[in-house]
C-alpha cells in the first residue's frame, strides 16, 4: 500500500494537537478558579478557601507541566511536516506564535513559581496578585493561539504575493472575522471544563463522605457557574455557527449534513452521510427547523455541499458526527445545570446520590466536547489549510515521504501514551489522596525544594495498596 504523507501528516498533527489541547483547556478554567479562591481567601480570611486552593493548585501544577511538555513539540512540527505552509505564513504566524511563547513564559513561568511555592514567603496580597497573573497569562496565551487559528479559518489583513502572505494590516489579521466567536467559545469551554472537573471531584468526595463542608462549597460554586455558563455557551456557539455560515458555508453544510442548497431546510438529527453517492442514509430531521435556526426564517435558503466541486468538500461524516457529539454534550451540560438548580431550590442539593454520580460520570464530558468541537472546525475546513487560499496539500513539506511520516506518528503515539498514562495515573492518585493528606504533607516544609511545577504535588506516584490512608 502506498503511504500517503499528506494524510499521515494530518493524522499526526491532529494527534499531537488533540493530546496537547486537553491540558490547556483545563488549566485555563482551573487557573481562573484558583484566582477566585485566592480572592475569596483574601477578602474573608476563611481558611477553607485556602485549603481548596492548595489542593487545586497541586492538580494545576501537574496538568500545566504536561501541557508544556506536549506543547514544545508543536513549535517544531510546523517546520518538519508543513514547511511550505510555515514559510508562506511566517510573516503573520511566526510573530503571533512567538508572542504566545513570550506571554506564556513571562506571566506563567514567573508568577506560577510564586503561586506554587510562595504562599508563606510573600504577603497575601502578592500571592493573590500572582494567582491572578497566572490566570491572565493563560488567557493571553489562548488569545494568540486562537488569533492564529482563526486567521487560518478566515484570513484577513494579508496579501498573497509570490506564494508568501505579506502583511497589510496587523489588526485586521489578528481581529479577523471569526476570532471573537472562536475566542469566546473556547474561553467559555475552558470555564465549563474547569467547573465540571471540580464539581465531579467534589461530588466524588461527597459520595465518600470526605471533607463534606469544604466539598459542598466547591460543588455549590461550580453548579452556579454551570447553570449560567452552559446556556451562554450554547448562545455563543450559535453566533459562531452564523459566522461560519457567512464565512465557510461548505463547512456549515457538512456540519448540518445538507447536500442540496435549499429553502426551508430541515434540522437533521440523525443521518449517515455518504460522500460517494452525495446523500444521507437513514436521515431523521425536523422540517424547516434548520432554516429557522440558521436564517431565523422558516423559508430561508441554507447552503449545500453540492454548491462546490467534490474536491473542495471536507470529509462529511466526521464533521457531521463531531458536531452532534459536541452539541449533545452541550445540551447534557445545560440539563445538569438545571437539575442542580432544581435540587438547590428544593433544598436537596447535597442529598441526591444519583446527581453526584452523574457529576462524577460527567468529568470526561467537557474534554470530549472540546475535542469534538475542534474536529468540527478543523476537519470541516478541509481541503483548506488557509481557507480559500492554501490547501493542505500545498502546505505540506515537499520532500516528506509517507514512511517517515508513519514512523514518527508511531513514535509520538508511543511516547505520548506512556506520558499520558503516567500523568493520568498520578493525577488520580493526587485526587484519591485528597485534601486531607495533601495538608499532612505540608507539615514537612523541608520536603519542598525543587522550585518546579511537579514538585508542588508531593504525592507519591505509587502507594502500597493504592487505597487512601484517610478514606474514613
Amino acid at each position: 500500500m502506498e503511504l500517503d504523507p499528506l494524510l499521515l501528516s494530518r493524522i499526526q498533527f491532529a494527534f499531537v494537537v488533540s493530546f496537547h489541547a486537553i491540558f490547556p483547556v483545563f488549566t485555563i478554567g482551573l487557573a481562573a478558579y484558583i484566582a477566585v479562591l485566592e480572592g475569596l481567601l483574601f477578602r474573608t480570611r476563611d481558611p477553607a478557601w485556602e485549603r481548596l486552593s492548595k489542593f487545586w493548585t497541586k492538580v494545576f501544577a501537574v496538568v500545566f507541566g504536561m501541557g508544556v511538555v506536549s506543547g514544545i513539540v508543536m513549535a517544531f512540527q510546523f517546520g518538519t511536516n508543513w514547511s511550505n505552509f510555515s514559510y508562506a505564513t511566517a510573516n503573520f504566524l511566526g510573530p503571533v506564535l512567538s508572542y504566545e511563547v513570550v506571554t506564556a513564559f513571562f506571566l506563567e513561568a514567573t508568577f506560577l513559581g510564586v503561586l506554587l511555592f510562595g504562599r508563606d514567603k510573600v504577603p497575601q496580597g502578592v500571592h493573590l496578585f500572582a494567582a491572578i497573573m497566572v490566570a491572565v497569562g493563560t488567557f493571553i496565551s489562548s488569545f494568540w493561539i486562537l488569533a492564529a487559528n482563526s486567521w487560518m479559518q478566515t484570513p484577513a489583513g494579508v496579501e498573497l504575493q509570490n506564494g508568501l502572505f505579506q502583511m497589510t494590516s496587523w489588526s485586521e489579521a489578528i481581529f479577523n472575522s471569526s476570532f471573537p466567536y472562536r475566542f469566546s467559545h473556547m474561553v467559555v469551554a475552558s470555564f465549563l471544563t474547569g467547573s465540571f472537573v471540580v464539581a465531579g471531584v467534589s461530588a466524588w468526595y461527597l459520595l465518600k463522605g470526605r471533607e463534606t463542608a469544604l466539598n459542598r462549597r466547591a460543588l455549590s460554586m461550580c453548579l452556579w457557574l454551570i447553570l449560567f455558563v452552559a446556556p451562554l455557551q450554547m448562545f455563543i456557539g450559535d453566533l459562531h455557527g452564523l459566522n461560519t455560515l457567512k464565512e465557510q458555508p461548505t463547512k456549515l453544510a457538512a456540519m448540518e449534513g445538507h447536500w442540496e442548497s435549499k429553502a426551508g431546510a430541515p434540522l437533521i438529527l440523525f443521518a449517515i452521510p455518504d460522500s460517494a453517492s452525495e446523500t444521507n442514509h437513514l436521515e431523521i430531521g425536523i422540517p424547516k427547523l434548520g432554516s429557522l435556526i440558521l436564517k431565523h426564517d422558516v423559508d430561508g435558503v441554507v447552503p449545500g455541499l453540492k454548491d462546490v466541486p467534490a474536491d473542495e468538500r471536507p470529509p462529511v461524516g466526521p464533521t457531521f458526527w463531531s458536531f452532534r457529539v459536541m452539541v449533545g454534550i452541550g445540551v447534557l451540560m445545560i440539563a445538569v445545570g438545571f437539575w442542580g438548580a432544581w435540587l438547590r431550590f428544593r433544598g436537596r442539593l447535597y442529598d441526591q446520590p444519583l446527581f453526584k454520580r452523574v457529576l462524577v460520570a460527567m468529568i470526561p464530558a467537557p474534554f470530549i466536547a472540546v475535542l469534538a468541537g475542534w474536529f468540527v472546525t478543523e476537519i470541516g475546513r478541509a481541503p483548506w489549510l488557509v481557507y480559500g487560499q492554501m490547501t493542505h496539500a500545498e502546505g505540506l513539506t515537499p520532500s516528506l515521504t509517507g514512511g517517515m511520516a508513519l514512523f514518527t506518528l508511531i513514535g509520538f503515539i508511543v511516547v505520548y501514551s506512556v506520558v499520558f498514562a503516567a500523568g493520568l495515573y498520578y493525577l488520580l492518585r493526587i485526587v484519591r489522596t485528597g485534601i486531607e493528606e495533601v495538608e499532612a504533607q505540608d507539615e514537612h516544609p523541608e520536603q519542598h525544594r525543587a522550585k518546579r511545577p511537579f514538585s508542588a504535588a508531593d504525592v507519591p506516584l505509587e502507594g502500597g495498596d493504592g487505597a487512601p490512608a484517610t478514606a474514613r
Partner: protein, 334 residues
Amino acid sequence: MGIDLALVWAGLLAFAVLAYVVLDGFDLGVGILFPLLRDHGEQDLAMNSVAPVWDGNETWLVLGGGGLFAVFPLAYATIMPALYAPIIAMLMGLIFRGVSFEFRARADRSQFLWDIGFPGGSIVAAFAQGIALGALVQGIAVEDRAYAGGWWDWLTPFSLLTGAALVVGYALLGATWLVMKTEGPLADHARRIARLTGWGTFVLIGLVSLITPFLNPVYLQRWFAWPMGIFSVIVPLLLLGCGWRLHRGLVERRDATPFLASLGVFVLCYIGILISFYPYMVPPSVTLWQAAAPDESLAFLLVGALVLIPIILAYTAYAYWVFRGKVDPEEGYH
C-alpha cells in the same frame, strides 16, 4: 531603517542557542553519566543537583525554535525538513527524559522504567543534536526556497562523529558540574569521569576541526586565508588554555574551575562554528539576510524580545543564585 534587524536577530538567536547548549548541556550530561554512577544514593544526588534548573534551561530551546520560525522562516522551512528525523528524535528524547525526572522521584515499582528513560532520553537528545549540527555544517540542499535533499542526507560518518562529540562533550559538562556541586565519593567519581571525558572531548573536537575545512571550500577559505585565518591560531590556543585550566582544576581540586573551563571549551567551539558559517544561515546557499522575514515582522518581534530576554536572564540568574553551593545530601528531591 538604519539598524540591520536581520543581523540583530541573528545575534539574538545565536545567543539563545548558545545559552541552550551550555545550560541544557550540563543537565543532559548528568543524564548521560547516570548509568555510570554507583548506586541510587549517587544517582539521587546527581539528579537533585540539576532538578531545580533543568526545565528553565529548556526554555531557551523553545525560544530558539520559535524564534527561527518567526524571524528566519526560510531557514526554519528548510532546516526542519532536512533534519526531520534527528529533530523528532531529540524532541522525544527530551520529553521522555523530562517525565522521567518527575516520575522517578515518586515511583517505587516503576522506578526501573524511569531509570532507563532518564539516561536513554538524555543520550538520544544529545546525539540527535550533535547529528543535526553535523548535518548543518555539511550543508543542506536548497532549491527554489525549499529543502531539495533526501531523507537520509543527514546521516553521514561526519554527522555521527559530531553526534558522538556532543554526547562526550555534554558528559564532560555534566561531570564537571557534579564536581562543582557535590562532595565526597560522588565528587571524586565525577573527577575521574571528567578526566576521561575531557580527553575524549578534545580528541573529538580535534577530529571534527580537521575534517570541517575540507567539507566546503568556503570553510577552507575562511580558516586559512588572511585576515580571518588569524582565528585558526587564536581559537585553538584558547581551547588549549581551557584544557589546561580543566586539568589543573581537577588536580588542584578547585571545584568550580573545571566546569568553567568546560563551558569555555563549548563557547570557543561555538564561536568557531559561527566563524565558519557567517554570513550563511543554511550553508552552503542561504544567507541570514535571505532567510530573514520582512523588517516589519522583525521589528514587531524585537519589542517583545527586548522585554522578555532580560526577564528570562534575571529569572535564570535568580534560580541559580538560590541553589548555589554544594547540594546537601540530606535534602530530598521532594
